[in-house]
């Protein structure tokens, strides 16, 4: 499901053109159920919800619309639902990410990408804290704090303050944060890049954050990805024997969402 509402382009990667029905039909109440806008793709067993025709204001969904989408996703009758989210730290993006049973983010081995990833982790952490505490309680407990500076320091100060003022709440928060697992992949790894970068980030994050972090692997840089996008074909099918495709497949097989029975919703997201 393409939920990069500001710049949807997943249909191009999948080679799916001219989809008349999509998320816009669902949001515009032209259909009642999300299932009615699910379209097949060229890959057997893979279905797709396009956001290509959504209105320009779609990235700024109202809370009610966002909740409607989340509820509808949970009602879909599929084994797994993958939400393709855009970059950034908007509340909608974070809520779609955090509502998933497992959240996966992708970075490259460049300082800018790493900086953005840490900013995203920080924002997701903040969002989890705020959603657990409610806005009013959060404000009451943290309004006097200086929340400038680096992500780790800010979160540290918030949690320390909550622990001081409301130990029970801090414990509840700790459990909530510990229950979430971030998965991540290092993409477009060049020959000269450090292949241990992902392992180091995993180690650092697991050391400093309550949430779990799991590095799934590296995907090496491959010119053919560009060629696959140009031809609007799936890279892993067009270049099935490329080492990069092999890395994609290994990562996909190591990424096992929890069994359906263990999930609160009907569908694994």
């Amino acid at each position: 499901m393409d939920l990069d509402l500001g710049a949807p382009n997943l249909h191009t990667f999948l080679g799916v053109d001219h989809l008349e029905k999509g998320l816009d039909w669902f949001l515009g109440k032209r259909v009642n159920h999300l299932e009615q806008v699910v379209a097949p793709t060229k890959t057997p067993g893979l279905y797709f919800v396009s956001s290509a025709n959504c209105r320009v204001e779609a990235p700024n969904l109202h809370a009610a619309q966002k909740d409607k989408i989340i509820r509808s996703i949970r009602g879909l009758d599929f084994d797994y639902v993958f939400l393709d989210l855009g970059a950034g730290t908007s509340f909608n993006m974070l809520d779609f990410f955090l509502t998933s049973h497992q959240g996966l983010f992708v970075l490259t081995s460049e300082p800018t990408a790493i900086e953005n990833s840490f900013a995203f982790i920080k924002a997701a952490y903040f969002r989890m804290i705020k959603r657990t505490l409610t806005q009013k309680t959060f404000h009451r407990l943290t309004s006097h704090l200086d929340l400038s500076g680096n992500p780790v320091g800010q979160t540290f100060r918030i949690l320390k303050e909550i622990r001081k003022q409301a130990p029970d709440m801090a414990e509840q928060l700790k459990q909530k944060l510990s229950a979430f697992q971030f998965l991540f992949v290092v993409n477009q790894l060049h020959k000269r890049d450090d292949p241990e970068l992902g392992t180091k980030i995993e180690k650092v994050c697991n050391h400093h954050f309550y949430s779990g972090f799991r590095f799934l692997g590296n995907i090496r840089y491959d010119e053919n990805v560009h060629n696959a996008v140009l031809s609007r074909q799936l890279f892993v099918t067009q270049y099935a024997h490329a080492p990069t495709a092999d890395e994609f497949c290994k990562i996909a097989s190591s990424f096992e969402p929890p069994p359906v029975a263990d999930r609160p919703g009907k569908t694994g997201i």
Binding site: E115, N150, P151, V152, R163, R192, V204, H208
Partner: protein, 215 residues
């Protein structure tokens, strides 16, 4: 964010209570690399003072755990506080970190220098040297090709130059993130080139040219 006061010295270094000196040394070295100001893996995550505090905590943990008497006292405290069981302590790995060459073993160093000189004579490769000296840009891989043509091991280079093997490996594999800061790197390249019997006044500018092109 985990509270630092929740962490024991073992947690700080990311090791188990059964870790021996060898593992403590390895864990500390890894932390120094991860929390270095130039490290990509923690880029933008910490402020300068936070980074400093982490390094100081790590150093304190390292010093306590590497000192047998201090570690014993600390372990006693942890056992009494119920953080670890004495049974865990008995499984401890006793291996000590083994230096590849003793800094004080002058004989070893002298012998290694002789071996290197002998190899340079035995494996005289003027064409390769001429080719290397003629280039305007030289990578670490080029230096490696000279070393391997002389049948020299990294340990031998280390014994003579004292350039850590990890740094030599990073230079030869051109792993930019693992290279030391330029001020040290220049000195290392000069030493390394001379150890290989090359003219460092030609090699260093050529290597720096290479770095410019890849960066």
């Amino acid at each position: 964010m985990k509270q630092s006061d929740e962490q024991t010295h073992y947690d700080v270094l990311g090791i188990s209570v059964t870790a021996g000196p060898e593992q403590i040394q390895a864990a500390y070295s890894e932390l120094l690399a991860i929390y270095d100001t130039d490290s990509l893996s923690t880029y933008s995550l910490f402020s300068g003072s936070e980074r400093q505090a982490i390094l100081e905590r790590s150093k304190k943990a390292y010093k306590v755990l590497m000192d047998a008497r201090k570690r014993e006292e600390y372990d006693r405290y942890l056992t009494e506080a119920g953080h670890v069981s004495s049974a865990d302590m008995e499984k401890r790995d006793q291996r000590q970190p083994k230096p590849m060459f003793s800094m004080h073993d002058e004989q070893t160093i002298r012998q290694t220098k002789k071996n290197i000189q002998k190899k340079q004579v035995d494996m005289d490769t003027p064409s390769l040297k001429e080719d290397i000296h003629a280039r305007t840009a030289l990578s670490g891989a080029d230096l490696k090709s000279v070393r391997t043509s002389l049948h020299l091991e990294l340990n031998e280079i280390f014994a003579v130059t004292r350039i850590p093997v990890a740094v030599l490996r990073a230079i030869e594999e051109d792993v930019m993130q693992k290279l030391p800061s330029p001020v040290y790197l220049k000195g290392y390249i000069k030493q390394y080139a001379e150890c290989l019997g090359l003219d460092s006044s030609i090699i260093l500018p050529a290597y720096l040219n290479y770095l410019k092109t890849v960066s």
